[in-house]
C-alpha cells in the first residue's frame, strides 16, 4: 500500500473530506482531513486498512488555528501514517478516538490539558498533568513560561 492508493481509497469513501496528502519521511504520509468525518475515518482506517495501533495523539497551536495530529501504525504493512486536522481556535472540538482505539485515552487527556483541544465523546476528559482547576493550557503560544502567573489549585472533593 502506498500513500496514493490510501488517499484515493479514502477520497472515494469520504468525498471532499480528504484535504491533501503531504510526504513525510519514514511514514506513509501525512493526510489532512476534515474533522467533521473524524469518527468514520478512524473506523475505516482501523477496520479496512488495519491501522490497529494508535501511537500518538497530539496537538499544536498555530495561533490562527489548532492542529490535531494522529500517528497510526499498521502491523500488516509495518508503516506509520500521520493524520492531521485543523480546528478553529475559538472552538477546538473534534470527535474522540477512544471508542475506536482505547489507547487514545491518555493522549487525548494530555492534548486537552496542554493545548486545550476538546475531544467529544471522551469518557473522562480531565486534566492529566496540571492540577484540576488550573486556568491555562500551557502549550498554547499565548502562555509565556517566564511570566509569573497565579496558580489556583482546587482541592479534590473526593
Amino acid at each position: 500500500m502506498d500513500a496514493k492508493q490510501l488517499s484515493d481509497g479514502l477520497a472515494t469513501r469520504f468525498p471532499g473530506k480528504i484535504l491533501g496528502v503531504d510526504p513525510l519521511d519514514g511514514t506513509l504520509g501525512r493526510i489532512r482531513f476534515d474533522p467533521a468525518v473524524a469518527t468514520d475515518l478512524f473506523r475505516s482506517l482501523r477496520d479496512d486498512y488495519q491501522f490497529t495501533h494508535l501511537t500518538l495523539v497530539g496537538a499544536t497551536d498555530w495561533i490562527d488555528h489548532r492542529e490535531v495530529f494522529y500517528v497510526l501504525w499498521s502491523d500488516t504493512d509495518r508503516l506509520y501514517l500521520v493524520l492531521s486536522a485543523n480546528l478553529p481556535t475559538d472552538a477546538p472540538v473534534i470527535a474522540s478516538s477512544v471508542p475506536i482505539w482505547p489507547s487514545a485515552n491518555a493522549h487525548e487527556r494530555e492534548a486537552w490539558d496542554l493545548v486545550g483541544v476538546k475531544f467529544e465523546g471522551h469518557p473522562d476528559l480531565r486534566r492529566i498533568f496540571m492540577p484540576e482547576g488550573y486556568a491555562y493550557h500551557p502549550l498554547l503560544r499565548s502562555f509565556k513560561i517566564h511570566e509569573p502567573e497565579d496558580l489556583e489549585v482546587k482541592v479534590r472533593s473526593d
Binding site: 519521511d25 519514514g26 501525512r30 501511537t55 502491523d75 482505539w101 489507547s103
Partner: protein, 368 residues
C-alpha cells in the same frame, strides 16, 4: 506505588482489586513547553532528564526527529556510536528495572547486584560523554566527540562480565520457586488487548507479539546489525522478566557488532554544512528580519524508536526559526500505565508491586 512520583488509586474488595486509576503529573516539568524556547541542541539537556535512567536513548530519539525536521544527515560513524550508546543504555535501563522489580518482591540482593553492574556501564558512558547520568552527548548532525582510545576494549570487557552476571540473575529469580509463585500468571494482558490499549515494548512482546521497531522499521543503522527480537508467550510478569533478560543479551550482541565496526571505520562524527545555530558556539542571531531572509527549510520530523520501556516517539515541527515550533513526545510508560485498568483488576493487593514493577515505570518520561 513505588518508582517515582505517581499515585495509583486502587478500589479493592477485600484483597481483590476492583478498579484502578493512575494519577500522574507530579513530575511534570513542562519539557515540551521549555523546548519552544531553546535551540535544538539545548533541548538535549532536557532529554537526559526526560527519562533519567535512559538518557541516551531519549537523546537519540529527539536527535533523529530533529535531524529529519532540519534535513541534516549525520555521518555513519556517529550513527554507530549512537546505536552503541542506545543499546548500552538499554542494558543499563533494564538492569535498573531488574533491581527495582526484584526489590519490590522483597529481595534486596539482586538490587545491589543490578546496581553494581549498571555502574560499570555508567563508567563507560562517563569515559566518552563525561557524565554518569545526564550525558548531553548527541548533537544535531552527529555526536559531541569521538570515542576515546581503548574504549572498545574496555567495553568488551564489561559486556563479557555482564553476560556472566545475567546467568546469576536468572539463578536468583527464575530458579526460585518463590519467584514463580509470586510472578506466574499475574498481570496477564493478551496481545489483542495490548494492541488496543497501545501497550508497547517488553510488555507487548511478552504476549507473543514480534513487534520491535528496530526490526520493523529500522532506524539509524539497525538494518545492518544482526539480532533477534525477544518474545515470550505467557503475557504475564514472568514473561516480561524473560523478555527483558533476553533483550539484554541481544543488546550485548548488538554492542559487540557496533564495537567491531567502530574499530575498523574511523571517520568524522559530525556532519558538515550545518545551519548556523546548530554549530558549536551559539551566539546572538541578530535582527529577526535577517533570520527570515535566510530561508532555511521548514519541516516536520517524526521519529519512533524502541526505547527500553517501549515505543517512544518524538514529533518535531521546524518552522524555519532557531527554536523548534513544537515538540511532542510519546511516552511509552504513560500508555503502559494507563492500561493498568485492563491488567490489574482481579488480582490481589499484594500483587500490585510485582505487576506494576514489571511495567518498568519511569515517571520522568511519563510526566515530562
Amino acid at each position: 506505588m513505588t518508582h517515582g512520583l505517581w499515585n495509583l488509586r486502587v478500589r479493592i474488595e477485600g484483597e481483590i482489586i476492583k478498579d484502578v486509576e493512575p494519577e500522574m503529573g507530579y513530575l511534570h516539568r513542562g519539557i515540551e513547553k521549555i523546548s519552544e524556547d531553546r535551540h535544538y541542541n539545548e533541548i538535549i539537556t532536557l532529554m537526559d532528564r526526560t527519562c533519567y535512567v535512559a538518557g541516551l536513548a531519549w537523546e537519540h530519539l529527539f536527535i533523529v526527529a530533529a535531524e529529519q525536521a532540519l534535513h541534516v544527515t549525520p555521518p555513519e560513524r556517529a550513527e554507530y556510536i549512537r546505536v552503541l550508546s542506545a543499546e548500552l543504555q538499554r542494558i543499563a535501563s533494564h538492569l535498573m528495572w531488574y533491581s527495582a522489580f526484584v526489590q519490590d518482591l522483597g529481595l534486596m540482593t539482586p538490587f545491589l547486584y543490578g546496581m553494581r553492574d549498571r555502574d560499570l556501564i555508567l563508567d563507560l558512558f562517563q569515559s566518552y560523554t563525561g557524565g554518569r547520568l545526564t550525558y548531553e552527548y548527541m548533537r544535531v548532525g552527529g555526536v559531541r566527540s569521538d570515542l576515546p582510545l581503548g574504549f572498545t576494549q574496555r567495553c568488551r570487557q564489561v559486556v563479557d562480565w555482564l553476560m556472566d552476571r545475567f546467568v546469576e540473575y536468572d539463578q536468583l529469580c527464575l530458579s526460585s520457586t518463590i519467584f514463580h509463585e509470586r510472578c506466574d500468571g499475574l498481570g496477564v494482558l493478551l496481545e489483542p488487548e495490548a494492541v488496543a490499549y497501545g501497550v508497547t515494548g517488553p510488555m507487548l512482546r511478552s504476549a507473543g507479539s514480534h513487534r520491535d521497531l528496530r526490526k520493523d522499521r529500522p532506524y539509524s543503522v539497525y538494518d545492518k546489525l544482526q539480532f533477534q527480537v525477544a518474545t515470550a508467550s505467557t503475557a504475564d510478569v514472568t514473561g516480561r522478566y524473560l523478555v527483558r533478560m533476553e533483550e539484554m543479551r541481544q543488546s550485548v550482541r548488538i554492542v559487540r557488532q557496533c564495537l567491531d565496526w567502530l574499530d575498523d571505520h574511523p571517520g568524522p562524527v559530525m556532519a558538515e554544512h550545518l545551519p548556523r545555530w546548530l554549530g558549536a558556539p551559539y551566539a546572538p542571531m541578530g535582527n529577526e528580519s535577517y533570520l527570515l531572509k535566510r530561508n532555511y527549510p521548514t519541516g516536520v520530523g517524526l521519529s519512533m524508536m524502541e526505547e527500553p520501556h517501549g515505543e517512544a516517539g518524538a514529533y518535531v515541527v521546524n518552522d524555519g526559526g532557531e527554536h523548534p515550533y513544537r515538540v511532542k513526545f510519546r511516552s511509552p510508560v504513560l500508555i503502559n500505565i494507563w492500561a493498568a485498568k485492563r491488567y490489574l483488576p482481579g488480582y490481589r493487593v499484594a500483587d500490585i508491586p510485582p505487576i506494576m514493577g514489571s511495567v518498568d515505570v519511569c515517571v520522568g518520561e511519563c510526566d515530562r
